[in-house]
Amino acid sequence: MEPIVFYILAAITVVTALLMVTRTSPISSAVWLIACFFAFAGLFVLLEAHFIAVIQVLLYAGAIMVLFVFVIMLLNLRPEELKTRAIRFQTVLGGIFVLYLVFLLPLSLFRSGKLLFPEVLPQFGYVQGIAEMIFTKYLVPFEVTSVLLLVAIVGSVIMGKRKL
């Protein structure tokens, strides 16, 4: 059962990702990315990371992508401005490297033999487990992230001003 789900979700992820990077209009790309994130969330659930999966949908697909859509709307790009150019040198180069990466890393992965997942506790990936971590072992990084968020707020407000 699980392999089929995995393969379906994987396929969705890859296809939507590919669609995302090839669309002309940003809004199309954004929509495909949202779909991709949903598939990601599914994969996360398969990995027993339930909390993260939810957060992924809430945050990423819900907040960040909405932000993206807002900005696209704000920029109000007219269709003529959304031009593409013919294949250029950079595209080719990028494509070559990427292909290389695609084949390079997996090959090395398959060298190390099969790495099976062990059994985990049932509560693995629930909120309690994570909460325990972030309030004990990873307290400092947690607090730092709150500062980071503060900085981000201030930063984005300033960035958005018309006149400083």
Binding site: Q90, L93, G94, F97, L101, L104, L105, S108
Partner: protein
């Protein structure tokens, strides 16, 4: 007085003073003239004379003192220790030191003695010239280098002096450089000299290579004369090429065929310069060099034959040209070339002492001749064509009669100096090769003839100028006249130290130099020598009288002869077109190649275009390519990141 001096400095330092005085004088006057040129002010002539004439005189005093002192040494010679080490190259060490022996003392005495007289003469001659101080600076510098040349203890140090006198010759010949012809004459002298110097250098290299390959333990001293003399046997295989190469250098310096062409042109310089450089000293450097290396030359009869043949040929050749010249200084120039030929003839037949003897007497009477001609030119306000002279004896007695004395000496009239020296040469040549003797003998006759032609046209007979010019002619001032008189005395008496035994003398000069020079003995009797001497004397005397009579009485005999031999006259009068031949065969081709190939192609296209411009353009080109990396587009930077990351990964994983 010497004792007093020796309290303060060592004898060796005292000897170095010979060189120090002229150098000091040159530097002082040189600086003064530079300062004056910058400040645009005149210098004080008195100070110039003080240093300019004081230096050679002091130098002469030292030379004389050293001479007297060395008479007390058994070997009559000494070598100073090195003053400093000039160069240290691999295994060659070049030290700067002096060698004082009879040969170098004779040369030094002549140089400083005659040189002093010429310096004094110059005070009067150049008195009104605006380059007065510069002139004395150059003259002293020349004296310094010439002394270096004759007193050097090694062939390399000699070469330093050799080059130095070449330089000073250039500076002094082209002294009035504003005139392009004069400047060109200076250049010509230097360039022709240089060609000879190339041969000299090749000779030096050959010596070095030979001695090096023999693996001797010389302590780096390859060119020291004593070393060379000691190891002469090592040089036997290369003796002929070395001697010929060095002789080629001597041809340039001493104006022999084929490198004599600069000397007639060199008459463009002031007359005292001609007297000093081209009569008494610089041109004799070649003779000195060969004499100094007599031990080497005697090893190679081939080279000696070459020397003798060229000497004799030059002697006759130059005499024929001098016969028909009309410029007083040019006549004397060709006469110098001719007499130098005699000196080389003497060297070539193994009579090295005779060559030096003739060098010494020649210095006396040739300097006198030049100074006398300077006197005449001065009186005639720059006119140098003898056809415009005539009858000057009445107005310039001292000049006239000293000139006559000098002419008698050069013609070889008994008992003046030239007779003994020339006789010594001819006697040794007679015993060596009768043809060479014949050439020399003929040349002697021509010498007498052209000298007395000169005298006849200049001083005697009716004058060829108008009354007004004749009245303005006056005798020279004492500063010029006194040296003339002193030189006249030397011209008369100077030969008496070399009177051969055949004529009742002790052949003192020969014995004095005997320790230093090689000698090829002659096998002739005293009677033969006397007869030969007598024949030479009569031969010269009769030509002298004939010439004097023809040219002073202004008979039309010369014009008739010229008419009959018009073509020959034309050839000789134009100096056998040697200069023109050189121009066509050597100068023009070189110039053509230089311009068409070296300048236009090699220089302009290859070096300027390809290398200089090309480098610039290449750098620009690659720069433009490289600057594409910094396009300012962040994506490109990211792409390059990616490239680097991929390469790293590849490296790590595989």
């Amino acid at each position: 007085m010497l004792q007093w001096v020796l309290q303060y400095i060592s004898f060796e330092t005292f000897v170095w003073m010979i060189l120090a005085f002229p150098l000091f004088g040159a530097v002082v006057n040189g600086l003064r003239s530079l300062v004056a040129a910058v400040r645009k002010k005149e210098t004080s002539h008195f100070v110039t004379i003080l240093f300019g004439c004081g230096a050679p005189v002091l130098s002469f005093v030292v030379v004389a003192t050293v001479f007297v002192v060395l008479l007390g040494f058994t070997s009559h010679s000494m070598v100073t220790g090195p003053l400093f080490q000039w160069a240290l190259l691999d295994d060659l060490i070049i030290d700067i030191g002096l060698k004082i022996d009879p040969l170098s003392l004779v040369m030094a005495s002549v140089i400083t003695g005659v040189g002093s007289l010429i310096h004094i003469y110059s005070v009067g001659y150049m008195g009104h010239d605006k380059g007065f101080t510069r002139y004395f600076s150059y003259l002293n510098l020349f004296l310094f280098f010439m002394l270096v040349l004759v007193l050097a203890d090694s062939l390399v140090f000699l070469f330093v002096g050799w080059e130095g006198v070449g330089l000073c010759s250039y500076l002094l010949i082209g002294f009035w450089f504003e005139d392009e012809e004069k400047a060109k004459a200076g250049k010509k002298a230097f360039v022709v000299n240089r060609i000879g110097d190339a041969g000299f250098l090749l000779g030096l290299f050959l010596i070095y290579v030979t001695l090096k390959s023999a693996n001797l333990d010389l302590g780096g001293d390859f060119f020291n004369f004593d070393t060379l003399k000691g190891y002469a046997h090592v040089l036997i295989p290369v003796a002929t090429p070395v001697c010929l190469l060095l002789f080629f250098g001597a041809c340039g310096k001493s104006a022999q065929i084929p490198l004599y062409v600069w000397l007639p042109d060199a008459m463009a310089g002031p007359t005292p310069v001609s007297a000093l450089i081209h009569a008494a000293t610089m041109v004799t450097a070649g003779v000195y060099m060969v004499a100094r290396l007599s031990f080497l030359y005697t090893l190679t009869p081939t080279a000696m034959s070459v020397v003798a043949i060229i000497g004799a040929a030059t002697a006759l050749f130059a005499a024929t040209i001098g016969l028909l010249q009309n410029d007083i200084k040019k006549i004397l120039a060709y006469s110098t070339i001719s007499q130098l030929g005699y000196m080389f003839l003497a060297l070539g037949v193994g009579a090295f002492h005779a060559a030096i003897f003739h060098l010494m007497t020649h210095a006396f009477f040739k300097a006198l001749l030049f100074l006398g001609s300077g006197s005449v030119i001065h009186a005639m306000h720059g006119e140098q064509d003898i056809r415009k002279y005539g009858g000057l004896s009445k107005r310039m007695p001292i000049t006239t009669w000293t000139f006559v004395i000098a002419s008698l000496a050069i013609a070889g009239i008994f008992p003046l100096a030239g007779f003994f020296s020339k006789d010594a040469i001819l006697w040794h040549t007679y015993n060596s090769n009768i043809i060479l003797w014949g050439v020399g003998f003929a040349g002697a006759g021509l010498t007498a003839f052209y000298m007395f032609r000169l005298i006849g046209l200049t001083f005697f007979g009716e004058s060829n100028m108008d009354e007004a010019t004749l009245r303005k002619v006056h005798e020279s001032p004492p500063s010029m006249a006194v040296p003339l008189l002193l030189l006249a005395v030397l011209s008369i008496a100077g030969g008496w130290i070399g009177i051969p035994e055949a004529m009742g003398g002790s052949d003192y000069f020969h014995h004095w130099l005997g320790e230093v020079l090689a000698y090829t003995p002659v096998h002739g009797s005293h009677t033969e020598e006397l007869v030969l001497g007598g024949v030479s004397f009569l031969w010269a005397a009769h030509f002298a009288i004939i010439a004097w009579m023809i040219y002073s009485q202004k008979r039309d005999w010369p014009t008739r002869v010229v008419e009959k031999f018009r073509r020959l006259y034309w050839l000789i009068y134009n100096k056998y077109f040697v200069d023109e031949i050189y121009d066509v065969c050597v100068i023009r081709p070189i110039r053509n190649v230089s311009e068409r190939f070296f300048w236009k192609i090699s220089d302009a296209i290859l070096i300027d275009g390809l290398l200089v411009h090309g480098t610039g353009r290449a750098v620009q080109f690659f720069g433009r390519i490289l600057s594409a990396v910094q396009s300012g587009v962040v994506q490109l930077y990211l792409t390059l990141f990616l490239l680097g990351a991929v390469l790293l990964l590849w490296k790590i994983l595989y």
